[in-house]
């Protein structure tokens, strides 16, 4: 009977042909599996996706994940557990005075697709463009007091700074702002790289395609001038949700992913077969920010009441599963400027919160918090909602997808930034405190400073600290800056979290000391 039905459907199909077809189909379906199984392909989870390939539009580590694979820098972070940098394009690079750094490029470092050799002109073009006002570079603060690059030869130049800038070795050069792009290709593209794939690359991988909302497919760059990459293909797969990423790892769809705090203990005690878990102390900082310019929070007692009504230990327990410690500020332990404790204790004081509201003449307070649609932050918000109710504060939670959320406080994206109330955010960080405070100066209002916190003393300290060379004095300055943030009533610091990476035995991942992946250095086991 089944044969009769098949014959009706496919009149010319014989049983032999059917078996042959099935065999062929099976062989074809195994081809990608075979390519994957020989270890030449690497799948890494990305938790969001950058807008394009131009460092002018970069905002954080996600771009670095991609740029690290396709572009190069003068120097790069060394993978491992200690913060250090190593030469990349630079043959030699040294501080020749407090405000100048001389560099010489390695010979024969090539752009792909016929764009020739990487020269000092490319370095100058790449760094100087961040200083041009019309370019609206979002990472301009990374460069601190940098003014320009002086080209002294085809392969040599001098980096000039207006004043000494201590973090230039830890932030500016080895991170996003230090990314070198091709001058000729960028000018041909109209001054910005917004093409579907970059016209030229210099890193170990090149972009084959970008499937919007899904993944980047990178191939080994055959024209890479350094040691060839270990993988023929790297997919940066966009998986926003941590739980989904964990399932993807366990299903074998990704080889490397960060996982959420909920799974750290379980997977640490009992990792799946062929999988390893490594937990790193993170530099990220999560905090609840309050827009101090919102008329609702004009009275500082209201702001302080809200801060007193947030119980950080409960949040650590509920959302971070006690694998992370409460933060004392935006600067993590071990870095210059880390504070030993907060001004307001991490434990909530509901009676004090109620008292402050009464003093301000407020019976019930209705407020809103905007959060990203991820399990950790929505859990934090729900804990806050329950806690705040005890102090007579009704907290409404508004959840946003990544694109929508990250435009909330940006003046160029509409008027919503002025009406913001509370926001829950996490910023990425580099190993210098300058990178943390840079986003909270008055100049950043309408861009990254969503709290609209403005303090002359803070701005001045930030400006002075970036040139301060005495570590003790610098430490004191950054501590004071965090005190000022907290005194404004605009900040409740939560945690730095942890970075827990789950990865396949078949790869040797390379990470920064804070656990963030340097995919360009990943190797096969």
């Amino acid at each position: 009977m089944p044969d009769l039905k098949l014959q009706r459907l496919f009149p010319s199909l014989t049983r032999r042909q059917l078996f042959a077809g099935a065999a062929a189909l099976g062989t074809v379906s195994m081809l990608p599996v075979a390519a994957w199984a020989d270890g030449t392909r690497l799948n890494v989870r990305a938790y969001l996706e950058p807008d394009d390939y131009d460092p002018l539009d970069a905002s954080g580590f996600l771009e670095e994940l991609l740029y690290g694979c396709i572009y190069r820098k003068l120097i790069q972070y060394v993978p491992g557990d200690e913060w250090a940098w190593q030469n990349d394009l630079a043959e030699s690079i040294e501080q020749t005075s407090p405000t100048t750094i001389a560099f010489t490029l390695k010979q024969g470092q090539m752009w792909s697709d016929g764009y020739g050799e990487i020269t000092a002109e490319d370095v100058k073009f790449s760094m100087d463009r961040h200083m041009v006002e019309e370019n609206n570079s979002r990472i301009k603060p990374d460069l601190g007091t940098f003014t320009h690059v002086e080209v002294t030869g085809s392969h040599s130049g001098i980096i000039h700074m207006e004043r000494p800038f201590a973090p230039i070795w830890t932030i500016a050069l080895p991170y996003l702002a230090g990314t070198v792009i091709c001058k000729q290709a960028t000018e041909e593209a109209g001054g910005k790289i917004t093409t579907a794939v970059p016209p030229t690359v210099s890193g170990p991988y090149r972009v084959r395609e970008h499937r919007l909302g899904e993944r980047w497919v990178l191939d080994r760059n055959p024209e890479f001038s350094g040691e060839p990459a270990d993988f023929e293909r790297v997919d940066l797969i966009v998986i926003v949700d941590e739980a989904a990423a964990e399932i993807a790892k366990e299903a074998g769809d990704v080889d490397f992913t960060a996982i959420g705090p909920a799974s750290v203990q379980r997977l640490g005690d009992n990792p799946p077969a062929g999988t390893q878990l490594k937990v790193h102390p993170a530099l990220f900082y999560h905090w609840v920010g309050l827009n101090v310019q919102n008329p609702k929070f004009e009275d500082i007692r209201v702001r302080q009441a809200i801060m007193h009504a947030i119980d950080v230990p409960s949040i650590m327990q509920a959302a971070f599963f006690d694998v992370a410690e409460p933060a004392t500020g935006i600067i993590a332990p071990g870095l210059i400027g880390h504070r030993p404790e907060t001004l307001i204790p991490p434990q909530a004081d509901f009676a004090r919160a109620r008292e402050l509201l009464d003093e301000a003449g407020i019976d019930r307070l209705d407020i809103n918090i905007d959060v990203l649609n991820n399990v950790t932050h929505t859990t934090v918000a729900q804990v806050m909602q329950a806690m705040m109710a005890q102090a007579g504060i009704d907290l409404n939670i508004s959840v946003h997808e990544g694109g929508s959320f990250w435009s909330l406080g940006v003046a160029a994206d509409g008027d919503r930034w002025q009406d913001l109330e509370l926001t829950l955010k996490r910023f990425s960080m580099t190993p210098d405190p300058y990178y943390a405070t840079a986003w909270f100066v008055s100049e950043q209002i309408g861009d990254w400073n969503w709290e609209q916190f403005s303090s002359e003393e803070f701005d001045q300290l930030h400006d002075e600290a970036l040139s301060e060379t005495d570590p003790a004095r610098r430490d004191e300055m950054y501590r004071r800056m965090q005190d000022l943030m907290e005194e404004s009533g605009g900040y409740r610091f939560l945690t730095h979290g942890v970075t827990a990476n789950l990865f396949a035995d078949s790869i040797v991942p390379a990470t920064r000391p804070d656990g963030l992946p340097l995919v360009q250095h990943f190797r096969r086991a």
Binding site: I247, A381, E401
Partner: protein, 282 residues
């Protein structure tokens, strides 16, 4: 007694499938009405010490990541499900009914224009529309209702239009017209009663769809705000911890399955009883 057996209710009660459906729906309505009474715990009370508790005598369906009682949250969630389903179906049904009758009775150009609107609304994917509206409107039940109304009124409109078109030239209507019956009499005494049968079948079939849309939107984080005890939110909470505590997602899915079955069975039973062709075939 014989007369009762020939009424719609009597015929439904004689159909085992309809009885099962009505029992499920009645159960859901009772749970929604008595949610505050039957819930053993405060649905929003956090208890971190007891979080991820498996089902037990204390927590019948276990607890979630914040130690909230899953049964109490599902009981409260039935109110949300009913509210969204009834509100959305009533509004979209009313709009569809009016527009469908206008299309059926109106001139050709108006009929074509309304058909174009129906087809456009129907063609728009629900989730895409939900994502777009979620970005523009505040999250909440009203946004869910708006999404459902926009995507489903056209179904009612099409059904009512088709029924109206087939009825308006029926012999008994022509006879009424010939006898001088007013437009209002024809519509309210003849067309409307004949349209309502298929209309209610569609509404019954759509109720679980609406509940599922609400749950789906909440699952995706674009429905009700976090903390609201909707069934979709419970599913989302369960999904996040599916590896370690599968009972949360199982408990969240159970009422959805039951309600979908209940309303679908009822819709089918109604169709069997109200569709003359199907009745003849029995």
């Amino acid at each position: 007694m014989t007369a009762f057996r020939h009424t719609l209710t009597g015929r439904l009660l004689a159909d085992p499938l309809a009885v099962v459906a009505m029992l499920i729906i009645a159960g859901m309505v009772m749970v929604a009405l008595l949610a505050d009474v039957i819930s053993p715990h405060d649905y929003s009370a956090m208890n971190l010490v007891d979080r991820f508790s498996p089902p037990s005598a204390t927590y019948w369906l276990g607890t979630d990541n914040l130690g909230r009682d899953t049964f109490s949250r599902l009981a409260q969630g039935s109110r949300i499900a009913l509210y969204v389903a009834l509100t959305a179906v009533t509004i979209s049904g009313a709009i569809g009914l009016v527009l469908g009758m206008i299309a059926g009775f109106g001139p050709r150009w108006l009929d074509n224009s309304l058909l174009f609107i129906f087809d456009t609304a129907r063609a728009y994917p629900t989730i895409i529309l939900a994502l777009a509206l979620a970005a523009l409107l505040p999250r909440g039940l009203s946004t869910v209702v708006i999404v459902v109304v926009i995507t489903s009124f056209s179904e009612y409109g099409r059904v009512v239009r088709t029924q109206t078109l087939s009825l308006k030239n029926a012999e008994f209507i022509l006879a009424e017209r010939a006898m001088g019956a007013s437009f209002g009499r024809i519509v309210f005494h003849h067309i409307l009663p004949n349209v309502l049968g298929p209309f209610f079948i569609l509404a019954a079939m759509n109720l679980p769809v609406v509940i599922t849309i609400e749950a789906g939107m909440s699952f995706l984080g674009i429905g009700v705000p976090p903390g609201t005890p909707s069934w979709g939110a419970t599913l989302k909470d369960g999904f996040d911890y599916i590896r370690t505590t599968p009972w949360i997602i199982l408990a969240g899915g159970l009422p959805l399955i039951l309600v979908t079955l209940g309303f679908t069975f009822l819709g089918e039973a109604l169709r069997d009883q109200l569709d003359p062709k199907l009745r003849k075939g029995r």
